[in-house]
Symmetry: C2
Subunit: 235 residues, 2 copies
Amino acid sequence: MTRVLYELCGIDESLRFSPFCWRVRYALAHKGLDVETRPWRFTDKQALAFADHDKVPVLVDGDEVVTDSYAILRYLDRTYPQAPLLGDALAEARGRFFKHYAERALAPAMMRTIIMDLFNAVHPDDRAYFRESREKRFGRTLEEFHSPAKGLAQLDAALGPMRGRLEEADFLDGDAPGGADYLVFGNFMWARCVSSADLVSNADPVHAWVERLLDLHDGLGRRAMRVTDIEGAYR
Amino acid sequence: MTRVLYELCGIDESLRFSPFCWRVRYALAHKGLDVETRPWRFTDKQALAFADHDKVPVLVDGDEVVTDSYAILRYLDRTYPQAPLLGDALAEARGRFFKHYAERALAPAMMRTIIMDLFNAVHPDDRAYFRESREKRFGRTLEEFHSPAKGLAQLDAALGPMRGRLEEADFLDGDAPGGADYLVFGNFMWARCVSSADLVSNADPVHAWVERLLDLHDGLGRRAMRVTDIEGAYR
């Protein structure tokens, strides 16, 4: 049985930067499950028609087609109970908070910081779509939205609770990494793959946690292509 | 056996506003455990000498003396396993994040908003201590630190993840309230008891959640004395 994950790619087919796809890559590795990834671009809606969905990640696992990163994590826990990601009832309810923390507290702050780098990493054929959809969402141009000073200040404030947690434990989920770590770490992979911006101080416990996550699962994150690896691509 | 909880009080012995004590009050009610509360003031360090501690809450449960609100919640789960508050391993690891979220994201934002109301609610004999210790912590005077405009903007940003969660569930812990809710709700009781400031819009899902928590356990929070209930006390 081949397991296939459709992942967003950028200017290079191997440049994979979606935070949602990274959650899934780490979740699969956590469970020791192999996967074959397929590059996908924003405007290639047709390629996902089989899933009745227009965004990645899409996981095809034998006869099952699962969309949405959080739903995929739940599906994996249900289907492969070893090494729980979200866990049961109470743990899962709390796991959900980390999804919102990543998406509503961290992502907007990172977005303001790396938006122009992100735009640069998007495939040329996708850029018009990317600009139009994001400018509509932000209510202003990408250039106006771009503000590393504001973004980093906002990120610094948003990281407070994480810092508190990581001062007392190696991972958000305690002594070993789990679903909460992957839900949040996806954002850091997103920023890392498209930008060389330093998001946190090297002395920050969040920095040490990022380094630990990069090394996990045989360096899954550290081995990933970054835009800075592509000659002439980073401006 | 009498179970006793030492709680911070303010200008009136019945005015109880410590966010940490409120966590414990809700936790005890959640487990259906009776408690007798004893008012305590900041400067009354001697009264807690028996616990080898200088802060409330302090819970005396038969022969056990337990300090620190989070440690008390864990103690209660261990000793009275019915109706888990923090739950086991993974749930507990994630529960811990809510403590930091309450203390590092919400509390500083609320503090900037209500600091002068809080100062006004502190017992006159405690005010010099309160001013000195807080001014040292903030690195400026209470008056300089006070900024409802900044505090409320900061709070609005910090509530993002909570809003996301409460748009999909009635409680942070899902369909029923649990330890995560109480860890965070303590802050809202703190603000409510000393101030009449509106912290969130009435249309905010966080507002509806606060109302639900106030009603819980026979209106435990709603029945609590507020400074506005004391004639001439609110300025």
